[in-house]
Symmetry: C2
Subunit: 234 residues, 2 copies
DNA sequence: CGCAGAATTGAGCGGACTCAAACATGGTGG
DNA sequence: CCACCATGTTTGAGTCCGCTCAATTCTGCG
């Protein structure tokens, strides 16, 4: 059992060094020698849409870098309803608070089929002692998270429901504007924009009629970023 | 001129070691030897209410720790209107992005008479090389900022205007519940809650009539946290 | 096929926005 | 000293957007 863990660790290290998106994530500028400090296993995990990565107040022993897919971070309101406070995409990191506190601050659930790397906190701590570069990377990730949060506040929580939805669609389509965006349930859309699921549904319908969206496949929307931009600004 | 700067530096260092709120801020667990690495001057600044600490896209050469007062961080929407994305209080830090990028990401304006310490980025970088403890502190500050941002999203951007205002007042009064809260302009209140200034004004009036607020002095409100909590939940 | 969950659409209501006017406050200059 | 203006606050009236409740329709799946 112990042996298999060590195997996993080594597989993890090897994977990191050959990782296709390494430039995006935490270990971007680690040196060869730094990798020697990785003892705990780094696992690659796959989750289906709807699966939970971790729960609110779960013991936090690892952070997660997203390799592919989309992850939502959810908080609960006093009345029990929930609000999506962040979306994490390829290159993003979830659960950074694990480095500072014993439990997670959100519930993390896959919105689309998800691939993540699970990095134990102990690994980060060990590397941190030796690598200021990792330190900088970590700060960058904190900064990214904060910028995203600010964007949610200014872009997705103000203005009319139509404006907010348009901005969200622009956000979701900005990476690959030509490809259709796979959107999630109307409830999740509403929970991001702080509107009801009915309003989310109506707004999507309206966009389709106006030609700002075209349904390439069920729930896969081609975005007319021109029109969406106009709506977002209006 | 150069001499006076060096003087300022030393005054800064001395002040840090004797600082009354040092346990709250970045240099909490620096060792004596670490202070030797502080060469650039650390200034203590005082701003009146309404004064600007820094502007959006200003060159960012320093971060600021708040000693007293209240600071707002503002972002602008496409249409020119502005949204307050964070409030920084005693012990909080503003402008952390200076460590990672050349310009500030917000406009920072004092909401109340403000005292801050201005810490040059170079100082942080110099200390960082030698102190993992500072590193940890920095992460804590990033984390604080992010937690605040999440709180704004879940608490202050959802629900009815009445609920949001109640939650904001609870937030502002939580440190010293017995003392009156000095609140700011209705426009700023609205810009925090994403409502119009008229709605903010009406809500405050309603709270006064309902006995949830009592005006001790002009614009100094005593909060009935019981009643506010009930309103926030309802 | 039939069912559960999601999405859509409708009707009606209410809260927040808009536009507007009256009022308070503090600073300026004659 | 007071008239005057700028700025912020309060309050009103009317409109509209988004919420609520509800009825269908759609979709995948056992």
């Amino acid at each position: 059992m112990k042996q298999s863990q060590i195997d996993a660790a080594w597989r993890g290290i090897a994977a990191c060094q050959r990782c296709g998106i390494r430039h995006l994530v935490l270990f971007a500028d680690l040196r060869e020698e730094d990798f020697d400090h990785i003892h705990a296993p780094i696992e690659e995990m796959r989750l289906e849409a709807g699966a939970q990565l971790y729960g609110l107040d779960d013991p936090a022993a690892a952070i997660f870098t997203v390799r592919d897919g989309l992850l939502k971070l959810v908080q609960f309101q006093p009345d029990g309803s929930q609000r999506i406070v962040r979306l994490v995409r390829m290159g993003g990191v979830a659960g950074l608070e694990a480095l500072l506190q014993p439990t997670y601050a959100h519930m993390a659930i896959a919105l689309q089929p998800l691939e993540v790397c699970r990095i134990p906190v102990a690994t980060i701590h060990r590397l941190q002692a030796n690598s200021t570069r990792l330190h900088t990377r970590l700060m960058e990730k904190w900064h990214e998270a904060l910028t995203t949060a600010d964007g949610f506040l200014t872009g997705l929580s103000t203005g009319s429901a139509r404006q907010r939805m348009a901005r969200l669609l622009l956000l979701l389509s900005e990476e690959r504007p030509e490809e259709p965006v796979r959107l999630f349930t109307r409830e999740d859309l509403g929970s991001i924009l702080a509107v009801t699921l009915e309003t989310a549904s109506r707004t999507i319908s309206e966009f389709k009629k106006a030609g700002a969206l075209r349904e390439a496949a069920p729930n896969r929307m081609l975005c007319d970023r021109e029109k969406l931009t106009r709506i977002a600004a209006a």
